[in-house]
């Protein structure tokens, strides 16, 4: 076998310390957050037309299987990344309005919990030039991932995903600018001030240069601030009002453009069907 699984496992163990939360000395908790799951999703009407984590996971499994068979046909035996646990079957809007999940804030502060899933990108660094070319393609050859993607989109009906992207961005921006949401944001600021934090806007709190969201270091102060942020988003009604306002806006868009949304559903279902077929046939 080209790649030794034991060697990979040993390397994974070696990189584990960098995958744990490093709290500042004054913080008492040091539990590694490796098995983090959250049911906090903030569902929105557009979610059904987007790819949720489980759907993406299914498509990715099929894609890897197809790519691995393609590589084997080229005489290359390579374990592809991507064997992750099955994720939730619901779309994740938990950071759409900034931090909103008190459990996540209590553990990760302003950091996204996903930062602690998996290791470091060392697999890609170990690819040989031949493997890289076969997998990703070269000048005259599109490569195995491209071949897998083509197979998975075979016969799928057209859908205007660009339009959905624009609508999703618009409903977020417009709902953010309504009088009710602005009023709630002002109440959030008052609440934060009473809690000892002088932020005029939630973006100022999460964007405070005290936190380094590029690193995996979470300080106790960041956690305390993020927790206060979430509590104030709830007590001020900011989270509920913004979410309710955007939900209503998305429902109106869906009602006005039913045919477009039906085509988006048909496109996704066809791709998922292709993925399921690939997983069945290639097993």
């Amino acid at each position: 076998m080209h790649r030794n699984r034991l060697t990979l496992l040993s390397l994974a163990v070696l990189v584990l310390p960098s995958c744990t939360v490093r709290h500042s000395p004054e913080h008492t908790s040091s539990r590694p957050p490796s098995a983090w799951t959250s049911s906090f999703r903030l569902p929105l009407p557009f979610d059904a037309y987007k790819w949720n984590p489980r759907e993406t996971w299914l498509r990715e499994r099929a894609r890897h299987l197809l790519a691995e068979h393609c590589l084997q046909a080229r005489g290359i035996d390579l374990d592809l990344p991507g064997a992750t646990p099955e994720p939730p079957d619901s779309y994740d809007n938990s950071r759409r309005y900034g931090v909103g999940d008190i459990r996540a804030a209590s553990r990760f502060g302003y950091h996204p919990p996903e930062m602690w899933s998996g290791g470091q990108p060392q697999w890609a660094e170990r690819l040989s030039a031949e493997e890289e070319a076969a997998l990703y393609g070269a000048e005259s050859d599109p490569g195995c991932y491209h071949q897998a993607d083509s197979a998975l989109s075979l016969g799928t009906p057209a859908a205007d995903t660009s339009w959905l992207a624009t609508q999703s961005s618009r409903t977020l921006l417009r709902s953010s600018a309504t009088a009710e949401v602005n009023q709630a944001r002002s109440s959030w600021s008052t609440c934060m001030k009473q809690a000892g934090y002088a932020y005029t806007h939630p973006d100022k709190a999460i964007g405070d240069p005290q936190w380094d969201l590029d690193s995996r270091t979470v300080t106790a102060r960041e956690i305390e601030t993020a927790r206060a942020d979430v509590r104030c988003k709830r007590s001020s009604g900011l989270l509920r009002l913004w979410h309710t306002t955007e939900s209503a806006a998305q429902r109106r868009v869906i009602a006005r453009h039913r045919a477009v949304f039906e085509s988006l559903t048909a496109n996704k279902q066809a791709q998922l069907k292709n993925a399921a077929r690939a997983l069945e046939v290639r097993r």
Binding site: K50, W51, T56, E60, R63, A67, L80, P81, G82, T84, R95, R96, Y97, G98, Y110, P112, E114, M115, S117, G118, G119, Q120, P121, Q122, W123, A124, E125, L127, E132, L135, Y136, G143, Y145, H146, D149, D160, T161, S162, L164, A165, T166, S168, S169, L172, D203, I206, G207, D208, P209, Q210, W211, D212, L213, D214
Partner: protein, 146 residues
């Protein structure tokens, strides 16, 4: 104070070296020439300023290998690998993922707002047709790394 972005630090070091040592030519830049539009090597997440991986457009690109919570202040590189003065925030039009990780591009800094995920090996020549949209990406999150 928040640590300066790695890009900003690298730029500052480069500028300092250029100013302090007459005739100094940074090795990476001296060796880099004519970087082909659309090129992307493992283990990079490659961002392009224009659609179709810059082919047929100005070759402004940037490779990253880890999270970036705010693209603001990061500049594109040009055809020779030199840093330009063009900020890459809200300016990405196409991407390639060769990291071995899944990468999410978020609409806003600090991993907020709408996002689109790119699995390993994914290439998208036109971000306009997914949730992040064209010229809207402001932060990148790496996860599920192999």
């Amino acid at each position: 104070m928040k640590p300066l972005k790695k890009t900003a630090l690298a730029t500052a070091a480069l500028l300092a070296a250029t100013v302090l040592v007459p005739g100094f030519i940074p090795a990476a830049q001296a060796e880099a020439s004519d970087i082909r539009a659309g090129s992307c090597n493992a283990p990079n997440f490659c961002l392009f300023e224009n659609a179709n991986f810059n082919q047929g457009g100005v070759n402004h690109w940037r490779d990253i290998t880890h999270e970036d919570d705010d693209f603001m202040g990061n500049h594109w590189r040009d055809n020779n690998g030199y840093l330009t003065n063009v900020d890459m925030n809200d300016e990405t039009s196409s991407v390639k993922n060769r990291t071995g990780c899944s990468v999410r591009l978020y609409e806003h800094a600090n991993y907020q707002g709408d996002f689109t995920g790119f699995d390993n090996g994914a290439g998208d020549g036109s971000l306009s047709d997914n949730r992040i949209g064209n010229d809207r990406a402001s932060s990148a999150l790496f996860f599920n790394c192999a």
